[in-house]
């Protein structure tokens, strides 16, 4: 795998495979570099979420290896989880806990020192505009607010690798921008972000590199310009490029 940014590899997948009734992820090779914003796009059922759920330890692969910041995530999942954060499109938080208590719970799970965790929690709550609601139970929160609480939880342990599955689905424009700003900030600070999205404009604007996945395989990867070159349409949008590449893949099969 080429290393276009000449940075250390943050996530390396080799021959990663997962079968359900059919192959969901099919001998996937993928490398994401440190300090990179990587967008994984693909049609429904392409294997994006399955791939990411294997990376964060929510699914066991049938074959292949997962390496996070040099740690073999299958051999030492605890060490890999210590530096990884996961945020899904459906934020699962505890209705009966307040955001403050939720973050205290997360701090306990990630064994962050109480004083440090509390200071970071207060920062995150303020940053995400949750401070006025910090002592309210989450059960009455909107989806956007729940997503912000979950995002604060994901960032609390200062992860090196943040993995997000459709984090902007169902969010209003203001909240979506806030989430995007937070993610950009993490990348600027040296963190690595991998995100799946169906909103191709978001991938186009935010990602350093984009991977297109179909039928469990990576069919194209690179910067937007590199992807355009692959289709031979220099001025096309990511949407056109994406549709062309996926259509070619379908035709090839």
């Amino acid at each position: 795998m080429a290393n276009p940014l000449n940075r250390p590899v943050a996530l390396a997948l080799r021959q990663l495979t997962k079968r359900f009734d059919r192959p969901a992820v099919d001998a996937l090779d993928l490398a994401v570099y440190g300090g990179e914003f990587y967008a994984l796009v693909g049609p429904n059922g392409a294997g994006k979420t399955t791939t990411l759920r294997m990376v964060v330890g929510l699914l066991k692969p049938d074959a292949g290896t997962i390496c996070i910041e040099g740690i073999d995530a299958l051999a030492d999942p605890v060490a890999a989880k210590q530096i990884t954060a996961w945020l899904s499109d459906e934020p699962m938080i505890y209705d009966k806990l307040t955001p403050f208590e939720y973050l205290e719970f997360v701090a306990g799970l990630w064994r962050i020192e109480a004083g440090e965790a509390e200071a970071r929690a207060r920062d995150l709550l303020g940053w995400l505009g949750l401070e006025p609601h910090a002592n309210e139970r989450c059960e009455g929160f909107s989806k956007g607010m729940r997503q912000k609480v979950a995002l604060a939880g994901a960032l609390l342990h200062d992860p090196k690798l943040i993995i997000l599955d459709e984090p902007l689905t169902g969010l209003d424009a203001g909240t979506a921008r806030q989430v995007k700003n937070v993610l950009r900030e993490r990348v600027r600070a040296g963190g690595t972000v991998i995100m799946t999205t169906h909103i191709l404009e978001v991938a186009e604007r935010m990602a350093d590199r984009i991977g297109i996945i179909a039928n469990g395989r990576l069919i194209a990867e690179g910067t937007l310009d590199e992807l355009r070159k692959q289709t031979g349409a220099a001025a096309s949008s990511l949407e056109d490029t994406f549709l062309t590449l996926v259509a070619e893949q379908v035709a090839a099969e």
């Binding site: 505890y94 307040t98 064994r111 002592n135 139970r137």
Partner: protein
């Protein structure tokens, strides 16, 4: 098909939803299970008929005369059943207020809310009556078979009790809404439902304990004191009992009065039921706890963090608390018997041991499901840097410490009366709760905590294994308390049940 927006059309819609809901609950969402469920229901019905035959055959064959003693016992039994129906109806009505499901669609449609909620209240009455009829039918059928067709009247009384319970449940819940508001009603109504469900049974047992030193409910209903103070046989209070015994005039009066009260409650309350539903949806769930914010984060290990989370979630969920309260309430009569025995120095305390052990098994099973299967943020916990084994141990510790907290005072009191019985009960409590937890562990499935009511449907085997292991440990503890080696027999049965559970449970979980 009837015209849309009519009562018939809405009733058909409610019936369809109710039927599919029930079917899904019985088959745990797997259509292929329908045949198995049908066979299981037939077997269950046959078993219940046998049980009913062993209990009521002699009365049916001997014939029942409507004398005062009989009327008092039948009235007491009706009140006992009705208190459970009222509890069930209150829970259903409260759920109708707070569960959103299709209410957003309905309330934003141009259909009259009065019509919608009239049908919904009627549906609650129907489902409450149906459950009662289902449970009473084996007894009534045996009475009809051996005693004559006049016993069919009992079906009418059971249905009337369901209607009356729903009418009263709607009135109580609306009254709570108006007096204490939407926010507090949920908690209070759920506690009230739990207390009503248990109060009459417990009340009768308390009377029996205080007067006769045993737990039999019928001892109180047959007491000389009650006979002396009960109204004469001609009293209107015995009409429901007379109706059960086949008096057509009494049956007509009871059915008409119950139906009239249900219709009246629908007419009075259905109109603003929608307003209360909207009020329930608009309550602020957030409770400001400034002190917690000021105290800041506490230093805890990952395991302690998980345990604390389980306890906090349980403490803050009024519905789950009311479910647990029901189980703990049933400990009150044994507690009273313990106190009486301690005073009198009798050996009746051995009776308490299995009751306590059974309660521990039931409570342990419920808490274990909540902790192990009812995890609302499974991704968060699974992606945390802790091994799965440690997470499970922390959850098991949370369950076992909650059991210890509930039962320790009781066991300590028991130790004052009999150290050996307390030791046997303590071992039984520990083993029954641990066994129930193990069963839940073997059959764990990811679910929302709000699905607690349906936890039994995810695995019938788990439900039966949990119940039978508790019964076996209860028997073992009782025999051990009596000082006999026969205690080993039920203990071996309990271990065999657990071995079977381990053997047949899904491979990933075992």
């Amino acid at each position: 098909m009837s015209r849309p927006d009519t009562l018939m059309w809405l009733s058909a819609h409610e019936f369809r939803l109710g039927w599919r809901d029930w079917l899904s609950m019985m088959t745990a969402g797997r259509r292929k299970r329908a045949r198995t469920v049908a066979i299981a229901l037939i077997v269950f019905a046959a078993f219940m008929h046998l049980l009913a035959w062993s209990m009521v055959a002699r009365y049916a064959e001997a014939g029942v005369m409507p004398d005062k003693a009989t009327l008092v016992i039948v009235t007491g039994t009706i009140l006992l059943s009705w208190s459970l129906l009222l509890s069930q109806a209150m829970e259903s009505v409260t759920r109708a207020f707070y569960a959103r499901s299709d209410l957003d669609l309905i309330l934003t449609s141009p259909v009259s809310p009065r019509k919608v909620f009239s049908v919904r209240i009627a549906r609650i009455a129907g489902s409450v009556a149906l459950i009662a009829v289902f449970l009473a039918s084996p007894f009534i059928n045996v009475l009809v078979w051996l005693g004559g067709a006049h016993w069919f009247a009992a079906y009418g009384v059971v249905a009337a009790m369901g209607a009356l319970a729903t009418a009263l449940a709607v009135a109580i819940t609306i009254a709570l809404f108006r007096t204490i508001g939407a926010k507090r009603t949920r908690l209070v109504a759920q506690f009230l439902a739990a207390v009503i469900g248990a109060a009459f049974v417990i009340g009768l047992q308390v009377v029996a304990i205080l007067n006769y030193g045993n737990l039999s409910r019928f001892a109180a209903l047959q007491s000389d004191w009650l006979m002396a103070h009960a109204p004469d046989a001609g009293s209107v209070l015995y009409w429901p009992a007379r109706a059960v015994l086949g008096d057509p005039a009494a049956l007509t009066a009871v059915a008409a009065a119950s139906l009239a009260l249900l219709v009246a409650s629908i007419a009075i309350f259905a109109g603003n039921f929608g307003d209360h539903v909207i009020a329930a949806a608009g309550i602020s769930n957030g409770m400001v706890r400034q002190r917690r914010w000021q105290l800041g984060f506490r230093r805890r290990s990952a395991a302690r963090t998980l345990r604390q989370k389980e306890w906090t979630l349980l403490r803050r969920d009024p519905w789950l608390m009311s479910q647990s309260l029901m189980q703990i309430l049933y400990l009150l009569p044994p507690a009273l018997l313990l106190w009486k025995s301690f005073q009198g120095g009798t050996s009746a305390i051995i009776v308490l041991v299995p009751v306590v052990v059974m309660a521990a098994g039931q409570l342990g099973g419920g808490l274990a499901w909540l902790s192990i299967s009812g995890e609302d943020a499974p991704d968060l916990v699974a992606t945390a840097p802790i091994t799965a084994r440690r997470i499970l141990w922390a959850k098991i510790e949370a369950v076992m410490s909650a059991i210890a907290m509930v039962f320790a005072p009781f066991l300590a009191a028991l130790a004052f009366a009999s150290e050996w019985s307390a030791l046997a009960a303590a071992a039984g409590v520990l083993l029954a709760a641990a066994s129930a937890t193990m069963v839940q562990l073997c059959f764990r499935t990811q679910a929302r905590r709000s699905q607690f009511r349906r936890r039994q449907t995810s695995s019938r085997i788990a439900t039966f294994a949990e119940a039978f292991s508790s019964i076996a440990w209860a028997g073992a503890a009782a025999l051990a308390a009596a000082g006999t080696w026969f205690a080993l027999a039920p203990a071996i049965i309990a271990l065999a049940i657990l071995a079977g559970v381990k053997w047949i449970s899904p491979p990933n979980h075992a």
